[in-house]
């Protein structure tokens, strides 16, 4: 069997006296579409921040395709082949939709400073290539008709799609989606389901998605990790997790079960 794409090995994180992530361990195999669920404040987004190097890991290790990425800075982690989106969008609101994607896409079309300042050499062909690839991705998420609009003026659901397109243009092998369906209505969630499944298949990605919409998780994820108070409380396929007593306790409260 090949190396797992992502492996957390007893990862710890403290915020002052709060043990925000406690000895978290899980493994994602290549091509998995996994869900990370848990109540608010459980530490899901912290896990993403630890993987991408936004926070320093206090204990344990994180391996990406067998390589220890724990000490890497954020941009080094990203260049290894991980991309993520944010719970509260982090687009460049004043730039156009196309520019947002091109900013990410240019990582794969680098040219030198003197070519940039003189517009000679590879500038022309690389800019064209970046633009073309960015447009193709916008087409994929259904935003190509809005390419010249400022990103901040898009409706919320479109901004989420744009963030996914921007993350995809980094050509990652592991994609981390942080609550992609937050604030969407059921129709939009349905569309998003299709989109996530589609890109997972077409781009041969491993995807880890944080989600509150249980129906979305149950429908698209084959592997669900559930955490509460910084610790993993259950892991397995959706049916197994759905009926796990710890999860019912975490979501509904102890009293309900006792009653």
């Amino acid at each position: 069997m090949s190396e797992p794409v992502l492996k957390l090995d007893r990862t710890d994180k403290y915020f002052g006296g709060v043990h925000a992530v406690q000895e978290m361990s899980f493994t994602l195999e290549k091509g998995e579409l996994a869900g990370l669920i848990g109540p608010n404040g459980a530490g899901k987004t912290t896990i993403f921040n630890l993987i991408t190097g936004v926070y320093d890991v206090d204990g344990g290790k994180i391996l990406f395709e067998g390589e220890d990425i724990t000490p890497y800075k954020t941009y080094e982690v990203i260049r290894k082949g991980i991309a993520r989106t944010f719970q509260n969008l982090r687009l460049f609101p004043r730039s156009t939709v196309l520019e947002n994607v091109m900013t990410a896409c240019q990582q794969h079309h680098k040219y030198g400073f003197f070519e940039a300042a003189t517009h000679l050499g590879r500038w022309g062909s690389f800019e064209r290539e970046t633009r073309k690839q960015s447009m193709e991705l916008l087409e994929r998420v259904g935003l190509s008709h809005l390419a010249e609009q400022a990103a901040g003026t898009l409706p919320y659901g479109y901004q989420r799609r744009l963030e996914i397109a921007r993350a995809l243009s980094l050509q990652p092998r592991l994609l981390l989606l942080d609550e992609p369906a937050a604030g969407m209505n059921p129709d939009e969630v349905n569309d998003l389901n299709g989109l996530i499944k589609g890109i997972h298949r077409d781009f041969e990605l491993t995807v880890l998605v944080i989600e509150h919409h249980m129906d979305l998780v149950m429908e698209i994820c084959s592997h669900v990790i559930c955490m509460n108070f910084g610790a993993k409380i259950a892991e397995g396929d959706p049916e197994h997790v759905q009926n796990h007593p710890e999860i019912l306790k975490a979501y509904l409260g102890e009293e309900v079960l006792e009653a």
Binding site: T74, A83, F92, R94, M102, K110, W123, E127
Partner: protein, 296 residues
Amino acid sequence: MSGYVEGIIILLCVNGIAALGVCLLTGFTGIFSLGHAGYMAIGAYTTAIMTLRYGIHWLPAVLAGGLIAMTVSYLIGVPTLKLMGDYYAIASIGLGEAIRLVLENGGNFTRGARGYPGIENFTTLPIAGGFFLVMAVLMFFLVRSNFGRAFKACRDDYIAASLLGFNTARYRVFSLAISGFYCGVAGALMAGFLTFIQPVMFDSGKSTELVAVVVFGGLGSLSGSLLGTMVLTLVTELFRPISQYRMLIYGIILVIIMVARPEGIMGQHELSPRYIKSLFSRKHRTAKATEGGSGL
């Protein structure tokens, strides 16, 4: 053309080069600096010392002025720009003053507070205009490239930028070094224009003016910074006859523009045929909308 008008145009070109440098740093990379007059001073003194003391031709001296200013800004930037937020702005105040004080107390080498007289008057109109054109074109090209997008990403959201694989600290230092180079060259040309320089010309007032011009013109617009330079340089020159009220008018104009257009003259648009067209079509649309409204 009279010598006076020629002088103003040269001054515009020189100030324009400095404004382009500060615009890249403040307008495109989002770093405020209150010490860029220091880099101009480095450029000016390098040129003065190289041409007068060592008898070197002015052209390599000007380029050396730019390069030394760039090196200094790079060395300052590496430790300070790793930190986020306004740390560099605070550090830059100290830096600008430190450079000025070093020049003032440099003994015989910089000739201290009395200043450095007798510099060759090499900054003629074609020289200043030529430098300005070349450096402006390079800057306009640079912001319309992968580097421009990277700088803007660091400005708008540095966390998102680093999550797109940009080493944001490196880009910030890089932006500072380029702006240091532009200000160094501007200072060197200034020395060749005035033929006399003294440390007090590069005090914090000059630094503030450089930032004011960029904010005034619109953060993120090169042509806006140039327009800002033009307006503020011309205001100082036009009202020279009533010189005791000059700074008053200068201040009032700054206040009026910032109240009426907080985003600066140009916002973050560039002065292009397309922008002018969109300006007119927008006016046209509003006019139409009002007509439609009155018909109801």
